[in-house]
Symmetry: C2
Subunit: 131 residues, 2 copies
């Protein structure tokens, strides 16, 4: 959408609030169901459209690393993730990657770097004890 002004609708507020209230990294559909408790008439399309806007304005991060669905992260600060290859969940890692984060804003092979994403793959504790 190439629009100049952005309205602060109750739908957009509710989606952002719901996302920021979570430490998990929900899908659009999960957010849709959560937000629907408060706004019963909200539609899935609206959730997708708002997440797109929020990602453009940098309030939210889109994460397409893992499974089939896009997940969203309400934490705008740089932090690494761990994806469980068994259950597909994404966890925040305390760890950061200072050497890599420093690359933001620099040029590499003529490319201006705007973000650094670090994702580890592994098996999370619940999945390990289950097997």
């Amino acid at each position: 959408m190439e629009t100049k002004f952005r309205r602060n609708t109750k739908q957009r507020q509710a989606i952002l609030a719901e996302l920021c209230a979570r430490k998990t990294h929900p899908t659009a559909n999960e957010l849709f169901h959560a937000v629907r408790d408060r706004l019963p008439r909200i539609s899935l399309g609206t959730v997708y459209r708002n997440l797109e806007v929020l990602a453009e304005t940098g309030q939210v991060m889109k994460m397409r690393d893992g499974g089939q669905e896009t997940r969203y992260d309400g934490n705008p600060l740089p932090h690494a993730h761990l994806r469980c290859s068994s259950c597909g969940r994404l966890f925040d890692l305390e760890m950061s990657a200072p050497d890599l984060d420093r690359l933001v804003g620099t040029e590499i092979s003529g490319c201006l770097v705007t973000a650094v994403t670090v994702t580890l793959d592994g098996i999370c504790t619940p999945c390990r004890s289950r097997s």
Copy 2:
């Protein structure tokens, strides 16, 4: 598919050869069209099925970081990527991340780490000169 034996079909060979011959990170559909020059009756479903098998056996890497389509990488060695936020292309980076690669095989918060993915976002040289 939970099968024991894996056949070395000409389709699977052709897909892997085509992928390894490239420095780019093609989509399933791009590979489909490329391989079809040699195997005119190959189907898109077969390409998807084989890429899945090749990813399971570690000969190929699935990359879902960026745009909407999954891309595949025929280089099994660890290396970072740069994704152009304008055109969506994925480039290999000479750079590696030794501090992070060292994490493979270790445990972090009880999770056994099996892989580390590093992706930078930026605008590639062609896209920068175009604007």
